[in-house]
Amino acid sequence: MNSQPSVPLDRERYVARDGSWVMPIIFSDPTLYEIEKQRIFGRSWLLLGHESQLPRPGSFLRSWMGEESVLVTRDRNGKIRAHLNACRHRGYQLCQEDRGTGQRFQCRYHGWTYDSDGSLAAVPGEESIYYREIDKPKWGLVPVPRLDTFRGLIFGNFDPDACSLEDYLGDMAWYLDIVLDRCAGGTELLGPQRWRIAANWKVVAENHCGDEYHVGFAHGSVFPNLAANRATPIPYAREIRPAMGHGLGANVFPDEMPPEEWLKAGLGEFPPPVYDYMLRIYDETLRRLGKQRAHISLIHGAVWPNFGMVPIVNSFRVIQPRGVNEVEMWSYSLVDREAPAEVKAWFAAQSARTFGPAGSFEQDDAGNWTAVTRSSCGFESRKHRLNLQMGLGHEERSDRFPGELGLTASEINQRGFYLRWMRDMFDGETRDE
C-alpha cells in the first residue's frame, strides 16, 4: 500500500539518543535521501527568496524547495504566489529563466499558458481539438499550499498541516530580528552566487548551524593567530540553540561595553563611512529591539533544515540539495535596504571576499564537505560512528536570552540538528501518504 521506501528498522543505528554521535551512512544512503525529500523537505518551511526580489506586479523568480522547482511571482494585484514550476499538461518545467518580468508563462512544449497568479489562461486548440471540454480552472499550476513571509523573507511549505512559520521559527525569530528588524527600512537580498559542491546537504547545513570548532583550523589561513589558540573558548561568543534543528553562534557583549569597543570585534575593520553607519544602526537597534539584542552580534547560524547564514559578513544562503551527494549553494548578501549605496557596496564586497565560492573562508569549506561526504560512501568507513560529544552535558541557560547555550566552541547545535533529523525522519513515518 505504502509505495514510499521506509527507513530501515532500528532508529538507534543512525544517531545517538543524546546526539553525541552519528553514522556516516546518513550522508550517502540514497534510500534515506528519498525519505528526506518527503519528511524533511516536504514538511519544513523553506526559504524561497525575499520580497525585494519581486519589486512590482509581474516580477518573478525561479527558486527551489528541496528538489522541487518553484515559480515565485508577484501577480497583477501585487500578491506573492508560489507554484510548482511544472506545466499541468506534460509536467514540463514551465519557467526556464532565473528571474524577470512578465504576466504570462507559456510552456515551450505545447504552449499551455498560465497567468502570474497560476491560473491556466490559454490552451492551444481549446476549441478545435479539445472540443471546449477542458476545464481550465481545474488545471492551474499547483500552488505551494503554505506561503508566508518573515520580515521580507518568503518561505514556503508543502505540508498543508504544518505549524505556522512563526511557531516553526520559535525563538530563532528573536535572534533573526537582530539582523532583519534592526532598522525601519528592512532588508534586501543581493545575489545569489550559485555553485555546486559534491557534498550531502546535511554536512553543509550542520556546519552553518553549529561548527565554530573548525574556524580556527579550517580557516587558519584567515586567522593565523586563532589557529594556534583554537582550544581556547572565544570571549563573549556563545553557541545558542533556540530549538532543535535551529542554531546560531553570537557574540554577546556586556551591557556596559560601549559599541565603539565591540564593533571592532568583527572581521576586519570597518572603513569610516561603514563604521559611522554601524553606530547609527546600533542606536536604532537599541530603540527598536532594546539593549539586550543591540548587544548581540550574530556570527553564524541556520534555520532547519537548509537555510544557512553567516551574518557577521551579511552572507545568507540556501543549501539546495541536488541528490544525496551534491548541493547547489545559493548565497546572498543581505543588506539594510535604506543603507547608503557605498555602505551596501562595502557589505556586498565583504560578503564576496569572505564567503561565496571565491571567499577567503568558503574556498576552503567546500573541500571539507566533499571529503566528509566521500568518506561516507565507503562500505567500511561508513560503518563507524562520528563523534559529536563536545560540550555534551554542559549546556546552560541564561535569563538574558532564549535557548540553550554552549561555549564557542561546542557541538550543542549539531546535536540539535541531528536529533531534529531523527525526529522528522522517524516520527514522521505515521504521516506518510
Binding site: G100, L190, P192, Q193, W195, R196, A341, P357, S360, Q363
Partner: protein
C-alpha cells in the same frame, strides 16, 4: 588602426606572460603586474527573460550580468587582491594546499580602444584546473584596461564574464 595593430603583439605577450605566471603559481610576481587603482570584478550571471525574443539586439549578455550595485563573485581592489594572494601562502589555505594543477589558454585578443593612453583589451580565457576532486573547466571573456608604464603595462581594470549561471565548481580559488 595601424597603431592598434602595433600594440597587439606587446599586449598579447603581456597577457601570455601573465597567464604563465599564474599557471606557474608565481602569484607574488603577478601582483607586480597590477596598477595601484585596479578594480577586479567577476559579476554574477543569470538566465533572464529576453524582452523581445524577435530582436537579436536585445539578447544581450549585459542583461544577464548583475550590476555594480549587487553581489559579485569577486569584487577586489589592490588591497583585497594582495590579501587574496597572501592568504594562499599561509600554509593553511587548504583549497590550494597542495596547489591545483592549472592551465590558462588566452585567445581572441582584440584591442577595443586606446583612450588617454589606457588600452582596452578583450580576450577569451579557457581555464582548466584539476585536483583531488577532478577536473574543472571555465571559459570567460575578460575585459581589461591596461595602463602603459614605459614599454610595459599594468592591469588597471579586469571584468570577467564567466559563461556559467551556476558554477560547476566548488570554489573559485584561482584567478582569471
Amino acid at each position: 588602426m595601424s597603431s592598434d595593430f602595433e600594440l597587439l603583439i606587446p599586449i598579447q605577450q603581456w597577457l601570455y606572460r601573465e597567464a604563465r605566471l599564474l599557471d606557474s603559481r608565481r602569484f607574488d610576481l603577478w601582483l607586480g603586474l597590477l596598477d595601484e587603482s585596479i578594480r577586479y570584478r567577476i559579476p554574477n550571471r543569470a538566465l533572464v527573460r529576453q524582452a523581445h525574443a524577435k530582436d537579436f539586439s536585445t539578447w544581450s549578455v549585459e542583461r544577464e550580468l548583475d550590476g555594480a550595485d549587487s553581489l559579485a563573485l569577486i569584487d577586489d581592489d589592490l588591497a583585497a587582491l594582495r590579501y587574496r594572494v597572501g592568504r594562499l601562502q599561509s600554509g593553511m589555505a587548504w583549497a590550494e594546499t597542495p596547489p591545483s594543477m592549472s592551465r590558462r589558454l588566452v585567445s581572441n585578443v582584440m584591442i577595443d580602444s586606446v583612450r588617454e593612453g589606457c588600452v582596452s583589451v578583450v580576450s577569451t580565457i579557457f581555464l582548466a584546473k584539476s585536483r583531488n576532486d577532478g577536473r574543472v573547466l571555465f571559459t570567460a571573456e575578460r575585459r581589461d584596461k591596461l595602463a602603459p608604464i614605459g614599454a610595459d603595462f599594468r592591469l588597471r581594470e579586469r571584468y570577467v564574464v564567466l559563461d556559467d549561471a551556476v558554477l560547476a565548481a566548488d570554489n573559485l580559488s584561482l584567478l582569471f
